[in-house]
Amino acid sequence: MKPCALAGFASEAPTFSSLEALPGDLSDWLVSFLPDIEWLRWLTASLLAIVLILTVFGLTFAMLTVTERKLLGRFQNRYGPNRVRVFGIRVFGFFQPFADAVKALTKEDIVPAAADKVLHLLAPVCLVAFSLLGFAVLPYGREMTLLGNLDAALLFFFAATSASELAIFMAGWSSRNKYALLSAMRALAQLISYELPLLLVAVPAVMLAGTLSLQGIVLSQADWLGGILPHWNILTPWGFAGALIFYIAALAESNRCPFDLPEGESEIIAGFLTEYSGFKYALFFMGEYFGMAALAGLGVTLFLGGWTAPCEFLQFIPSYLWFYLKLVAVVLSFMWMRATLLRLRMDQLMRLSWKFLVPLALVNLGNAAFWQFSSNWEGAWLAARWAISLAVAIVPFLLLAKTLTAGLGPRQYRYA
């Protein structure tokens, strides 16, 4: 880091580094060239922020696709894509997404004769648009919120992302293909079922912060115990349980393995993607990755302290970098899950949500309420607070798990 960045770290009351305000300053500087009309400047500044978000997350999407393929390759003991070179330079195959983009753009776009042409075209567009809406409210940094200060930011996020179910259904139904329709039904059932635990575990974070504004939720976690232990929600019993439920539900909401039943290649060809080709197909992937990144960003905001640094002395690194680092870490762990776990069966999927995650999320809500009411306990009571809260988080989990898996195993494999 530059010396000026470290100045903030040394002073008593932390003044934040100039890097912190860099995006805002840059935008102000660019806008200052425009004539002094208020709405023109406002419009330009907003467009600049939108372009920045689209560029950063567009590039992230491109890099994530190749990273995922390379990581999966490594997990499966092979190299993954490593052939593409630009001007003779081969950066471990990381130019692959650009080659893929050219390929997707130049491929023939096939629309089935019986398909509903308009909906068939609209579905991928809607999916990308809805999943991009979620990015509007995420707080990216101390000074970087597009709509993050919005009073009902969390509500906006869920409202925007819940509409993507409709896009997937449109894709499945308009293709006039049995497999696509089956997959659309699967997707609807799955997305509805997992939206419930997702919403229920977001509520405690709202309760404890006392606001629906995502920036407010981050600010409520922006403190350190002794300068090194962050006040992140994940480090409380209810927050840990909530983060786990959120993680599972987010995997299911973004149709990732082990919850990729709507795509289920070995069962229903490629589900709602069956009749798509060329750039529309690429758009679906883009929407999926955007949705996944947005959900990971929400998880980071709710449980991992958003843009706050893990230790007080690490604040010289700009807050938006912390946010980005955490987001990428969460997305990489999603990929790890994909490489590790097997796809669920439909009834297992439903059971996991309704009989396991939803009750646990409800219990977690009560746990968070207890945590809120016991916030002034001290001394031995503090230990009791932790003990009770941990017990409320763990005991129902064990009991439910034991009840639900009764009679299901262990499975013995025999050679015929």
């Binding site: 409709l166 329709l181 006392g210």
Partner: protein, 176 residues
Amino acid sequence: MPDFPLLTLGVIAAVTLVSAAVAFSLKNILHCLLLLVVSWVGVAAFYLWAGAEFIAFAQVLVYVGAISMVVLFAVLLTRQHQPEENSPTRAFRAWGALAAALVATALCAAVVATPLEGNSSADAGLSVRQIGELLMGPHVAALLIIGVLLTVALLGAVLLAAPDAPKENFPPKTKP
């Protein structure tokens, strides 16, 4: 400089009403549903225009996210065949028009008869925090009653939908 708020309201109203009207004239029931969704989004946009962001997002979450799904499931699970051309009879149309006219009259009469209290823009700035405090304070009884009512409705739905006898051997049990 044109009157931007009024212009916006005009566009929102046009989108909402036209999509709803077209939805009722289409044959394909799924197209109707998707157009209704557009109409619901238009209503949400109107709330946003009026400064009630909480109810606007709640409208999108409930109608676009949930109710459209319920309608989709109802359509897809109940309809066995492609829609047949069953054009309604003349009497049927007449009764339909009569019922629609009556409902419209009742609604319009109710709207006209309700006195609007002064300047409503003072209430428009009600924040989510204020709404929450109002719901949890003075109106907590209403909130609880609605909660109980919805739970009862949910239980009733489950009872109606539950099969008479539980199916055996589903999910298939693995033998040890």
